[in-house]
């Protein structure tokens, strides 16, 4: 098998080079890499201070590595990545108390904007909002826009309140109104909301489960229908959203389930769950093998699948070479160039302009 994969990778490298040549990019000379990684993290000084105060660097059971823009750039150069779109490693900001979150969000956004400002063609930024307090979140959204960040990262839930909950609607409404690109990222569950004794880091399973909960809540609350321009990128391949999409849509299918559970779930009239799912976007972090890509492809056009790595929170085993060579096992060269950057540049025109 290993031999086969290697041969495929070689073919891919050749195909990618051919695409590069066709589109007029200098592949062999001074490289102008066009690859965009929409899911990468920056461990900013503001977060370092939080870790120092807590005496722990754990996020979802995984220690946050030390990070610097230079380290990230070296990594990107080794992999031929043109730009990373950065976010904080934990977007609910629940590592600190509620009173401190607005300040932490502001510091993170200012520091993130400074990193982007120093390397405008190499980094984009997902701003973070203090979502526990929608009024403060709206204020911070205004700052994120003034700072020129490329979008915002939303946590799946904050203090047990999920996206889709009407309490968060004012923020989603504002994001929809200004057509702000959104990345939805999982957040660790409060201790009282999870089973004990599983013995695995939250980031492995509980993060993808969180994304399913948030996406399903947004489907049934018709959040994605009411805020039609939201169309978020769900991180980590949407968790298990593509795999479970049939099951989570059962209420919307021609079944007796709506009656079965009518007191628990009331579907807004005319809500077409299958159509709602087809609006979603997914990144490929931890979801780049054929099993995951094929599942996503059954749900959305390939243009809605975007390269993401979760670096450095998920360290890559491979040292150099383009990220996720296995994408070639399920995607044509043309589809890969969409996934590896074209679609992200279309979604994030500010970043595209800075990369040009």
């Amino acid at each position: 098998m290993t031999g086969l994969v290697t041969r495929r990778e070689l073919l891919v490298a050749g195909a990618a080079a051919a695409v590069a040549t066709r589109s007029g990019m200098a592949w062999a000379g001074a490289p102008v890499p066009r690859t965009v990684d929409v899911h990468a993290h920056a461990v900013l000084p503001a977060f370092e201070a939080v870790f120092a105060r807590r005496g722990s660097r754990l996020v979802g059971g995984v220690p946050a590595p030390a990070w610097s823009p230079e380290g990230a750039l070296a990594r990107m150069d080794a992999q031929g990545v043109g730009a990373q779109v950065l976010s904080v490693p934990e977007p609910s900001l629940t590592l600190v108390g509620r009173r401190e979150r607005a300040t932490l969000a502001r510091l993170c956004n200012e520091q993130l904007a400074a990193v982007v400002g120093a390397h405008p063609g190499r980094f984009g930024g997902w701003g973070v909002l203090p979502m526990h307090d929608p009024v403060a979140a709206l204020r911070e959204l205004a700052r994120v826009r003034r700072l020129g960040l490329d979008g915002v990262v939303l946590p799946t839930s904050v203090d047990g309140v999920y996206l889709g909950d009407p309490r968060l609607d004012p923020v989603l409404h504002a994001l929809d109104r200004v057509a702000m690109p959104v990345l939805v990222h999982a957040t660790p569950l409060p201790d009282h909301d999870r089973p004990e004794q599983v013995g695995l880091p939250d980031a492995l399973l509980e993060f993808p489960f969180e994304i399913v909960r948030a996406a399903t809540a947004m489907m049934y609350a018709s959040t994605l229908t009411r805020f039609r321009r939201l169309r978020p990128i769900l991180a980590d391949g949407g968790g298990a959203v593509p795999y479970l999409s049939h099951r989570t849509s059962l209420f919307g299918l021609e079944t007796g389930l709506s009656n079965f559970f009518q007191r628990r779930v009331s579907l807004p009239p005319g809500l077409d769950l299958a159509r709602v799912l087809s609006w979603l976007r997914f990144d490929t972090a931890g979801a780049s093998m054929p099993a995951q890509i094929r599942s996503m492809r059954e749900l959305v056009p390939v243009g809605q699948i975007l390269l993401g790595t979760d670096w450095p929170m998920t360290p890559s085993v491979a040292a150099g070479g383009p990220p996720q060579p296995e994408l070639a096992r399920s995607l044509s060269p043309e589809a890969q160039s969409l996934v590896r950057g074209e679609s992200a540049r279309a979604l994030l025109p500010g970043l595209a302009g800075r990369m040009a």
């Binding site: 599983v198 399973l205 489960f209 968790g239 479970l244 021609e254 559970f261 931890g286 099993a291």
Partner: protein, 320 residues
């Protein structure tokens, strides 16, 4: 219409078991009333959907809500009832034994009784008991006993208790059940339990929860903690499990599943009578399977692959 399907994920609710639950104050499951069940109703369902035989088992909460002595006695009563069901209808039903877990010694005893004496077709296990997954070292003697017999083991989820999950106003069956299954597989993988019990034939409900959807994460996690051999062991272990199509037959799941395992590990399942609200019109119980499989593949999924797991039933059908 010719009945050719073999349903490898179906439940039964013996009258005394329903009554025992009712005495415990349990009359609903995952927010819905406990469905009624009789052998005749099961056979009417089979007739309606071209199903030749069902392999039935008890769904959650099993007997884990009862005190030790009562749980062991009730499991024995369920298994005795199941054996009578097989004797009365050897070509229409298979049945899986219920164990009084988390009690380990009583469960080891019941494995021997149910498989050796009663001749049941396998065993059903919950993905977790009181928040402890099947990989809990305390359960190892039960797995060893099942491995020794090369048993067919069906792992079925339950909803984690409400205080072990976020309080979203959506029914737990939509996704929390699948997370329970997924946690069980992940813990069994990381405990090396599949490699240690190579003779158990494992089937995980609802196309493995979301395991195939997260196979790359599981493999990458194994590689980070144990290097490339651990990744290969994970990939091999996932390929060796059986997965049923209950609530999961659409291409979004089946395309991923077919990357993770071979076609012969995919078996037909309905989750009836719990899934009965899903089927409204007679005829095709899972039309989505035709979008996932070519006709010959679909037929094998709906019949031969499942029959291979229950040789007693296969022999009974051949003899009939």
């Amino acid at each position: 219409m010719r009945r050719h399907r073999i349903d490898l994920h179906a439940h039964f609710v013996p009258p005394f078991y329903r009554e025992a639950l009712r005495r415990r104050g349990i009359s609903r499951i995952a927010g819905a009333p406990f469905p009624s069940w009789t052998p005749a109703a099961a056979m009417r369902f089979m007739q309606r959907y071209g199903i030749q035989a069902q392999v039935v088992c008890i769904s959650e909460p099993g007997v884990s809500v009862f005190g030790d002595a009562e749980a062991a006695a009730l499991a024995r009563q369920v298994n005795t009832y199941a054996a009578e069901l097989l004797r009365d209808h050897p070509t229409r039903f298979g049945a899986l034994a219920l164990l009084p877990l988390p009690q380990v010694d009583a469960s080891v005893t019941e494995v021997a009784h149910a498989l050796d004496e009663l001749g049941l077709d396998g065993v059903v296990l919950q993905a977790s008991y009181d928040g402890r997954t099947l990989a809990d070292p305390a359960f190892a003697p039960v797995l060893a006993e099942l491995d020794r017999r090369g048993a067919y083991v069906f792992v079925h989820p339950g909803a984690p208790p409400p205080d072990d999950r976020p309080g979203l106003p959506l029914p737990a069956f939509l996704y929390e059940f699948t997370f329970d299954t997924t946690r069980a597989v992940a813990s069994l993988l990381s405990a090396g339990a599949f490699a240690r019990h190579p003779r158990i034939r494992w089937q995980f409900a609802h196309a493995g929860g979301v395991v195939p959807g997260l196979s790359e994460r599981l493999a990458a996690h194994a590689e980070r903690t144990g290097g490339p051999p651990a990744r290969e062991a994970t990939v091999r272990a996932l390929a060796g499990l059986y997965y049923d199509t209950a609530l999961s037959g659409a291409p979004t799941a089946m395309t991923a599943l077919r990357e993770v395992t071979s076609l012969d590990r995919i078996v037909f399942g309905t989750d009836w009578p719990f899934g009965q609200a899903l089927t409204l019109t007679a005829g095709d119980p899972q039309p989505e399977l035709s979008r996932s499989f070519a006709p010959a593949e679909r037929r094998a999924v709906e019949r031969e692959h499942g029959l291979a797991l229950v040789p007693r039933l296969a022999r009974a059908l051949e003899a009939a």
